[in-house]
């Protein structure tokens, strides 16, 4: 549970940084996620790509809340796409969907980020 098996790769597209998430997101993913956020730099929007997410527990959701705090502190926007129906339900259940803009595709997320 503490070991991270997730990877977070960062792509820069205009004013947005896309973070491609792969693998299992748990509380053990904190260091790699925060490193990815640091690599995203001063992008106006951080866009999380969940299409290759294979597992997430409540520790992983907690990490996203912590990331949201950092993003808000920098006056950035946090967006997401690629969520399966299951993970959309979890975002609704935990009410993360009220603070994270959820989109159906990368193009839609980038448009919302002003990069489309």
């Amino acid at each position: 549970m503490t070991e991270s098996t997730a990877t977070f790769d960062v792509r820069q597209i205009g004013p947005a940084s896309i973070v491609d998430i792969r693998g299992d997101v748990t509380s053990g993913s904190e260091d790699v996620l925060m490193s990815a956020y640091d690599a995203a730099g001063n992008a106006k929007s951080i866009v999380l790509n969940f299409s290759e997410l294979s597992y997430m527990n409540s520790g992983g959701i907690g990490l996203l809340v912590t990331l949201l705090v950092r993003v808000n502190r920098q006056s950035q926007k946090l967006l997401a796409f690629g969520l399966s129906d299951h993970y959309r339900q979890i975002f609704e259940l935990t009410r993360l969907d009220e603070a994270v803009g959820i989109h159906d595709s990368e193009q839609a997320a980038l448009r919302a980020a002003g990069a489309g």
Partner: protein, 270 residues
Amino acid sequence: MSDKHETAARTADALPDQQPNQLPDEIGGARDATHWAKAVSRLNVSQVPEGAINLNVTGKRLTSPIQGFGKMWQKTYQVRLPQERVSATDLIATWKQRFPDFWPEGNRFYAPLTGIEPGEVALLNMTLPGRMKLSTGVMVLYADEESFTLMTPQGHMFAGWITFSATEKDGETVAQAQVLMRASDPIFELGLTMGGHKQEDRFWNHTMREVAAHFGEIAVVDTQVVCVDKRRQWSRWSNIWHSSAIRSTVYMLGAPVRAVRARLGGKSTG
């Protein structure tokens, strides 16, 4: 100990928004699918155990730290046990089964009859400083073999969740309770700054020591407190409308009136 160990006569059901019995394959085949509660709009308590007060749970929405008012905190409490004494999965199985036993006196956790399973709701009767009684609840947000998470509804002291977990490392089983929270409203935020944080630390320190003692260890609790966000969310001040402290107090003050009404009602029908 007996007064806090309530094997409840069944507490609650959540009101599902989605199909209640979806299989993992139908919701994308995620490995974690069965570990999460189904999406709910508002909580519902179908049966209230004897002695429990269902005052601030039915009809309430769940609240994450995003919906809270106060500063955001992450508090971590850990105890270490020899791995040969208990494995991580056995520890969590015991913790789920005997959860109320490990709480401090004066606080009751009315566990669901079906145990700590995703989507189940438990009622809580707490004692706050000044001997104030408070009725609230939690929903099991997530549960697997190595962890479980309880999420709070509107009106709870804090908005957020607590994750109980166990891991094995270097011959030790590390049991952990981690709270991610904001005070729900300005009154609770004031209460936290005026001793509430210390009381919460005492609460979880006691709980962790009891968990260790159950496995025969006198453990020292490692406590880490991190302020994740120093800002208060003033736009959430109106959460006070749902305050379980206010509603519980009003309920307690109304007890004599209810008793008289019940007596009069009993006479007129008897």
